[in-house]
């Protein structure tokens, strides 16, 4: 999809993506001529539909990994990360994890998953990640 600033007759450029954590998505687009910004807000179903295509609004910041969809979206799975009984990841936690460099992301994900599993936490959220980071001394992850 593309956004047009009608007044300037200019195509607007993608500016920012936000995942508030409630299943919705916010993406902002800016007119390069007048600077006007508009936000596209999608509901959980619309967000999931885009996500189910394996694409990211705003573009991919990191390359895809093997079985990414299976690991992140199959609720009854968890085997793809080599573990059993893995907790699920909230969408905003996934977003934060996607910013971790690829070469250490698997290790970082396993650390958080182990932390959650050992404490019986079913879903990893940014708050859980913050707690784990503080408890385990993982500043920067």
């Amino acid at each position: 999809m593309k956004f047009l600033c009608v007044e300037c007759d200019q195509q607007m450029a993608f500016a920012e993506r936000q995942l508030p954590g409630d299943g919705t998505l916010a993406a902002t687009f800016k007119c390069p001529k007048c600077g006007r910004v508009v936000a596209m807000l999608t509901n959980p179903m619309e967000t999931q539909l885009v996500s189910s295509l394996g694409v990211e609004i705003g573009g991919r910041t990191v390359p895809g990994e093997p079985f990414e969809m299976i690991r992140e979206h199959v609720a009854t799975g968890g085997r793809a990360d080599g573990q059993t009984g893995s907790p699920t990841w909230s969408s905003d936690a996934q977003e934060r994890l996607s910013r971790v460099p690829t070469f250490v992301r698997g290790m970082v994900k396993r650390i958080y998953a182990d932390y959650a599993r050992e404490r019986g936490i079913a879903e990893i959220t940014p708050a859980i990640m913050d707690t784990a980071r503080a408890e385990l001394g993982l500043e920067g992850m």
């Binding site: 999809m1 593309k2 179903m45 189910s52 079985f67 990414e68 969809m69 799975g77 793809a80 080599g82």
Partner: protein
Amino acid sequence: MRTYHQLTDRDGSGLAEQIGAQRRRVAERLAGVSRFVAVMSGKGGVGKSYVTANLGRALARSGKAVGVLDADLNGPTIPALLGDADARRTTHENPAPAVGLDGVTYISMGQFLEGGAPLAFTGPATESFVWRGAMEASVVRELLGDVEWGKLDVLLLDLPPGMQRYVELCDLLGTPPAVLTVTIPTPESRDAVRRAMRSAADRGSALLGIVENMVGGELKGSAADELAAEFAVPVLARIPWHPSSSEWDRLGRQISDARHTTHDARP
């Protein structure tokens, strides 16, 4: 006001480029595969997976390098049929297929589901029908395009009932796979399989022939002969309730020898 195609800059998210990158990844992973054969039927419960597994083993015994994609995400049975001792080999850090009986390699959703759990996705429960189909197609794409298949003489595609997965695979592969059709003798099966064969022929798949399964028991009819005459294809095998390995070996030889030309018989 200008319209979509009049705006010449990319869409900012590069969605088309992202989809293109997914397709290229699939093509790269499958570059070493010589032939694709979809084992399909318009009917459930006719033994597609059973035929797939035993055909794969027969081809492997004849010296072929064989892989199987279990494309039945909701009812995966290939690990059970080809042996699941090695099923847990596959992880995201080791995207290698499992090695089953007679050296047939395979990938199946069954390797990723815990203890017989049904396939379920995270996401909003309401209106999940809107996105579930796309999610399943993406999972199939990953099973095809993320697995290190290596060099294969043939990759067998074990399809679920219906035509949706076949259509998805046509899109993912870029060209329609050759099709081996499985039926049971009954008229009900014949009618369902006819629709599937017609759809596959319309898409441009080569129809290799028909395997009639569960022959010689209580099931009455002549579905295979009628479909063979209608589509001008051979009945490659009639599988009794208790087949011997020689029957599978004979089917394997016929599939090895089959020519992959686009089917042009339009009944």
